[in-house]
Amino acid sequence: MSAARLVVVQVRYQLKVFMRSPVAVFFTVMFPVLMLVLMNALFAGDADIEGPGGEAWPVQQFYVGGLSAFAAVSATFTNLANVVPVRRDDGILKRWRSTPLPAWACIAGYVGSATIVAAVGVALTWGLGVAFYDITIDVAKLPVAVLTFVLAVGSFAALGLAVASLIRTAESAPAVANAIILPLGFVSSVFVPTADPPAWMAFLGDAFPLKPFAETFQDVFNPFVDPPAFVAHRLIRIAAWGVVGVAIALWRFRWEPHRTSGAPGRRRGRGRGRQAPATTSG
């Protein structure tokens, strides 16, 4: 079977499994959409945000940009950090390791399906923005948006795999993933516009890759930013984190469940087994 065909089979299989998990679909796709609706309902009447050059900037445009980036991140980073440890603990990854499927094809299935889900999430939020929130998409900014999307999806998928590799048990995965991504969303101006953030918050936002991603998407809808809205250092920051993610995943990714430390029967000679006879001697 050709490499492309292998990957297609894997992506389709991952999507099928994803679609059959209503909870996963809700949290990865519907949650950002819901946030968008809620944020707009709450803040739409508020005063406009102050744009980069002191201009008035309608909040809707801000939210569509930020939350569509967040949708892509939850489809890749959060989704993979949650799902991969479960598959590993359930022995599903080991099952695949028992077949001739190359490791890269298996990973491509996860990343490819997550990318498709991310694209759907972005399309949904943008579509909602155009339909209900008075958003106009500047076509001249689309090339940069697409480029950023591709780069960000790859980086956040790699980071999701990295976190999945560091997590020891599936039970802790949702907590860890959310503990990372929700605070990051706040310091990255995804949920609340922070015109003048405290220095530490600005620093954290700048240090991590979510803010450059969200800013690029926000710029697409910001009439005060001229096309093509290309900012090299944003792409570099996103890509650099992708490299970190790949490195950690390569270093730590495991196909087998972790053995919980101190499990019974670990020590040699312990528990002599169910066939062990009792003898009359002694």
Binding site: K94, S98, R266, R268, R272, Q275, P277, A278, T280
Partner: protein, 309 residues
Amino acid sequence: MSTEVSTAIAVSGLRKEYDGGILAVDGVDLEVAAGEVYALLGHNGAGKSTTVEILEGHRTRTAGSVAVLGLDPAREGRALRDRIGIVLQSSGIEPSLTVREAVEIYGSCYSTRRPVAEAIELAGLADQADQRVGSLSGGQQRRVDFALGIVGRPEVLFLDEPTTGFDPAARRSAWEVVSGLGAGGTTVLLTTHYLEEAEHLADRVGVLAHGRMVAEGTPAELIGSRGGAVVSFALPDGVEPAELDGVVPRDARIAGRQVDIATATPTADLARLTAWAVGRGVELDGLRVHQPTLEDVFLELAGEREVAR
């Protein structure tokens, strides 16, 4: 050349030491001919899964040489996995897939494969083909593992406790399928705790104890090698095992109320035992003298190791 063709699995001096100094496999030699069905027996923790998973390429070895179909699982794992089938002791399948989907998807990456329907049929899942894996019973899920193990038309099939959780009828039909594969030229290496299963299926049996091979041969050879007979009876109510001191040999096995004496001198042992019982005024329920089974041999081997330690 000829040895390459006729030897499916060749292992020599295999050792595996896990982190923390656990010596799981301690110098195992093993040779399985093409088309042979070989059963590995051994107590829990004897090193069966470790050995098998090294052969499958799932685990690394500490020392020794291993060749499966002439390939080194540690270095040529992918090429090897295209030609072998693996049923792990424990693994998982996405519960939301149907049986047919799972067999299709997992089967799709083998270069030679069995028709999906045939794999499902052989695993005895024809009636459950369109059910979700998650909705199946434990034994039925185990059969899905089996279907995935054979879908790639393996030349060598590894089965790590394949029939655990099967009802007796399912176990017998699984035996039939495995025998059929063996007759068709597939090499099978299986582990089991069901001695009956080994006796029924295996051309040859190896017994592992604490990481070492303590006995090997055909079931008949193993049984024959011990010779003698087994005297069995149930300990009467109110009689303490200690009372049997001096009446039965010291190496008699007492499990609950069941007493088994493996002996080369059944007549003398029986005479001593019945004389004691008559004198004590108790009846020995289920008293019989029989040929040792593989289970008797196994228990005796395990017992020897126990004493040797």
